[in-house]
Amino acid sequence: MLLVSQVMLWVALIALAVAVLALARQVGVLHERIAPVGALALGRGPQTGESAPRLTVRTLAGGTIEIGGPQADGPLRLLFFVSPTCPICKSLLPTVRAFAQSERLDLLLIGDGDAEQQRQMAERQAIELERFANAPEVGRAFQVAKLPYAVLISAAGVIAAQGLVNSREHLESLVTAHELGLRSVQEYLARRASPSV
């Protein structure tokens, strides 16, 4: 009796351990197959590789900043489109600022909405008012349809990368795409799917 029950217990225990092992292996396989995530390019407005529209915007601090056009050996500029009514924009703002700092990007926030609300948002997030412009015309020029949207502009005034961003990974993909000379995550995935290209 005891022998039989011991055999049954060991068989059950080992079967269970094997099941856990199989699950752990599967998780490992999943990790290896997770596709890299990137900012989604929306395919409207000025395309990556084209010159960025040239505009002059007024910042919340009162000064003016020129967007587009060549800048003498300036850093890459990151335009980040936000709105006080977009919750993801607010939660992503600290990440964007840390990211711009670590990548040495010239960050410029572009808002579209009530100026007073944006001023409050900037104060809550401790954003310098010189780096925040309420300029709906920029969004229109770049044809930004969804937020939060980011555009990376090279020193030559060319759109280096752009897309809808929801995480730090998406932001990183913009810089990576620029370094690899790719236009979007879609293009990267398409290339990976057909290695002959």
């Binding site: 005891l2 022998l3 011991q6 055999v7 217990l9 060991w10 068989v11 225990l13 080992i14 351990a17 094997v18 856990v20 092992l21 752990a24 292996r25 998780v27 490992g28 396989v29 990790h31 290896e32 997770i34 995530v37 990440t95 995480s167 730090r168 990974e169």
Partner: protein, 180 residues
């Protein structure tokens, strides 16, 4: 103190399977073996290949001794020495900050970086083999056979699960960082 025959059997089976898997993994990846040893930077580069193959030879002796029970105390002692030696090699490289090198465990399909968890795993395994140092030959009942083999097999499977979880931890940390 004499170890219970069931405990000795479990330890022998666990040790045999662990070392047999390690040998199989090393032979399967024989072309990378010298490189892995060289990466540890503990022996001169010219000695990496001889040290690698000597390790495999010693592991074979351990597996044979544990499987057959011949010169069991010596085999168990060598096994413990090897495990503690590997733990030491990993510990030294962790202290140097070289955690990105492959551990050379060849246990799962995933590349395994060095981690404190691997050091602990090795020491735990060495501790589980210590009862074999004082194991006595004697009559073994059927129940002890069943318990010994069952426990040994279960422990080996759990050891594999542990290795898998240790390598997964790194992947999860990377994912967390990516989506932070």
């Amino acid at each position: 103190m004499m170890a219970d025959p069931a405990i000795a059997l479990a330890g022998r089976l666990l040790g045999t399977l662990v070392f047999a898997t390690a040998i199989a993994g090393k032979i399967k990846h024989r072309h990378e073996l010298a490189g892995v040893v060289a990466n540890y930077r503990l022996v001169p580069a010219g000695l990496a290949a001889p040290v690698a193959w000597m390790t495999v030879g010693l592991e074979c002796l351990v597996a044979l001794s544990l499987a057959t029970g011949v010169r069991l105390a010596a085999g168990a002692g060598l096994a413990i020495a090897l495990l503690v030696g590997f733990a030491l090699a990993m510990g030294i490289n962790l202290a140097r900050g070289r955690r990105e090198i492959d551990c050379g465990c060849f246990q799962s399909g995933l590349r395994q970086r060095l981690s404190a968890a691997l050091v602990v795993r090795n020491l735990l395994l060495a501790a589980l083999l210590t009862p074999l140092l004082a194991a006595a030959a004697g009559r073994v009942t059927t129940l002890q056979w069943v318990d010994g083999l069952g426990a040994g097999l279960a422990a080996y499977t759990l050891y594999q699960v542990l290795g898998e979880l240790i390598s997964l931890r790194h992947f999860s940390a990377e994912l967390r960082r990516r989506f932070a």
